[in-house]
């Protein structure tokens, strides 16, 4: 079951010159993007600046009509059934925008709640609850214009959840958040998926995307350059683990592994491997059989960041 499906999305922008300017340029922001997001999962959309992530999100949230291609959210066509889509989605576009500056955080949330049809009382109840959830419990009475960047980001996330959406689109939701707040928001995102909601998020924090997302799509220049679980992506790119074993004392010259000088003055064995546990056992067996003392043991897992670097730089 998929909550978000899109096929061959294309979106071009015409740049605006001056009124009499002839230098109109066409920017192909999204160039044939197809995605499938499993219901109840967190899906990460990553890619360099200007890759087309935000544009894709805007198409999926009915804000933009694609030039070509089709997309469905919770089974509804984003162009032909826009209002049905709008009822079941939540959206964060920019963490520090989207509110009345001279209304309080609470009033702003109530405003959005009522746009989704909740009564004033119900919207107020939900707003208070969500302020608590995102960690703004004590600041709901303050004007939005007084909020710090992180507080604004938290309010944006609360706003995205005000209508209890089935599918949530979060464009860089943790940008500007302090580590503890970001952690809280990540926990919240995981919770959403656990409740059966679907979350599509973008982030430039690869570690965050990797820990949260079941599947990831890497977009580059408007095209999906890689798609799969973080593990699949690494395997497909043959990104190997690095196994490190430190040797205490003088290392014998005839050891059968590459040896480098370690930071603590000892020698360190460094091996590239696709099956780190086997490699590690092999090394340890050899060292033990020869009574060589072992310092630390480290297995370095390839990260999504390396996938990103390899795909983008080619």
């Amino acid at each position: 079951m998929h909550s978000v499906v899109c096929e061959g999305l294309v979106k071009t922008y015409e740049t605006r010159g001056g009124f009499f300017s002839q230098r109109k340029q066409v920017v192909k922001a999204v160039d044939g993007v197809s995605l499938r997001v499993r219901r109840g999962s967190v899906f990460g959309l990553v890619g360099p600046n200007g890759a087309g992530k935000t544009t894709t999100i805007k198409i999926l949230t009915t804000l933009l009509i694609p030039d070509a291609g089709q997309a469905w959210v919770n089974g509804f066509d984003v162009v032909k059934e826009a209002d049905r889509v709008r009822e079941v989605i939540g959206l964060v576009l920019a963490p520090d925008k989207g509110f009345y500056p001279r209304l309080t955080g609470f009033e702003n949330l109530v405003y959005y709640g009522r746009l989704y049809g909740f009564s004033k009382g119900e919207a107020g109840r939900r707003a208070a609850e969500l302020l608590e959830t995102v960690g703004l419990g004590g600041d709901g009475y303050r004007f939005y214009e007084e909020y710090s960047l992180g507080m604004k980001a938290k309010l944006s996330i609360a706003k995205a959840l005000i209508n209890d959406p089935e599918t949530v689109f979060l464009d860089e939701p943790t940008i500007g958040l302090d580590p503890l707040s970001a952690k809280k928001i990540r926990a919240l995102i995981s919770d959403l998926a656990r409740q059966g909601k679907t979350v599509l998020l973008t982030s430039h924090n690869m570690w965050e995307v990797e820990t949260l997302s079941e599947e990831v799509a890497l977009i580059n220049k408007g095209k999906v350059a890689a798609f799969g679980t973080p593990r699949e992506l690494k395997e497909r790119l043959n990104l190997s683990y690095i196994v490190e074993v430190e040797i205490i004392g003088n290392s014998p010259l005839d050891i059968s592994y590459p040896v480098e000088n370690g930071e603590r003055g000892n020698k360190v064995i460094k091996m590239l491997s696709y099956s780190p546990s086997d490699t590690l056992v092999e090394i340890l067996d050899e060292l033990r059989s020869r009574d060589i003392r072992i310092g630390y043991v480290k297995v370095h897992e390839p990260s999504l960041e390396e996938v990103f670097a390899q795909v983008v730089t080619g």
Binding site: E14, L63, A94, G98, R102, V110, Y112, G117, N163
Partner: protein
């Protein structure tokens, strides 16, 4: 029920925001009284005839004009601020009715600027007629209020044009110039060349001001109400234009800043 909820949400948010910026209100209260005095003075100098009714004619005219212009320009600014603050995108991504949104926004603005109009009109009516015509003036204010409803239709168009132009000032000022010249706020539109008269007759503003004047200075004629009802077609036409602009422009190029 849902539409009502959306309507009240926008109404309250806009009213609260608006009341936290009093400058506009003072302008709406003060401008008609003084500007009508200026034009009345110029007219009197030219014709050599002083007639207080003509001053009231213009007080009401400029009062309605100010309310109308504040209304359309605040719509242009509503869209401009919505674009730069990111609110418009969130509103468009919610299942909302544009008519409910703009009607609520307009209502919040009309109510506040009507307060100012009440002040100006009250002062004017009292000076010219004394206490006896004040009930007539209250009726005029009520009529003005309902007669301004079709303007929501005009505002839907203003909103779309603001999205396209991205600049509220030229849109608001152009509409204001046309409306101010052709609606008969300061003079009867029969003075105008036929083309301009036609524009005045077709737009709702002329009918609003004539109805308001009749309510204070003479009496409402039976033909005026049907015309005002006919003007409600602006709501339908405005919505059609808005929907067209939304699907053929706003959702093509985006509404972010």
């Amino acid at each position: 029920m849902k539409t009502f909820s959306q309507f009240t949400a926008v109404f309250e948010a806009e009213l609260k925001s608006y009341l936290r910026e009093v400058g506009a209100l003072v302008f709406v209260a003060v401008f008609p009284l003084f500007f009508s005095t200026l034009t009345y003075g110029m007219g009197t100098v030219l014709t050599g005839e002083a007639a207080p009714e003509r001053w009231l004619y213009q007080v009401i005219g400029f009062g309605v004009m100010t309310v109308s212009i504040v209304l359309t320009s605040s719509t242009a600014w509503y869209f401009r601020r919505g674009m730069s603050s990111g609110r418009l995108e969130y509103v468009m991504a919610a299942p909302v009715s544009p008519v409910a949104i703009l009607a609520a926004h307009s209502l919040a603005n009309v109510l506040t600027s009507l307060l100012a109009f009440l002040f100006a009109g009250f002062v004017g009516t009292y000076i010219v007629y004394g206490l006896s015509k004040l009930p007539g003036f209250l009726l005029a204010a009520a009529v003005t209020f309902f007669a301004l409803l079709p303007v929501v239709g005009v505002n839907l168009v203003v909103g779309v044009v603001t999205i396209v132009a991205k600049e509220p000032e030229p849109v608001a000022n152009t509409v204001a110039a046309v409306v101010a010249a052709t609606s008969g706020f300061a003079y009867p539109i029969t003075l105008l060349p036929p083309v301009l008269q036609l524009i005045g007759m077709v737009l709702p503003f002329h009918h609003v001001v004539e109805t308001a004047r009749a309510a204070v200075m003479t009496s409402l004629s039976p033909t005026q109400l049907p015309i005002l009802l006919l003007m409600m077609l602006y709501l339908v036409a405005g919505l059609a234009v808005y929907r067209y602009g939304e699907n053929h422009y706003a959702r093509k190029v985006g509404v972010s800043w």
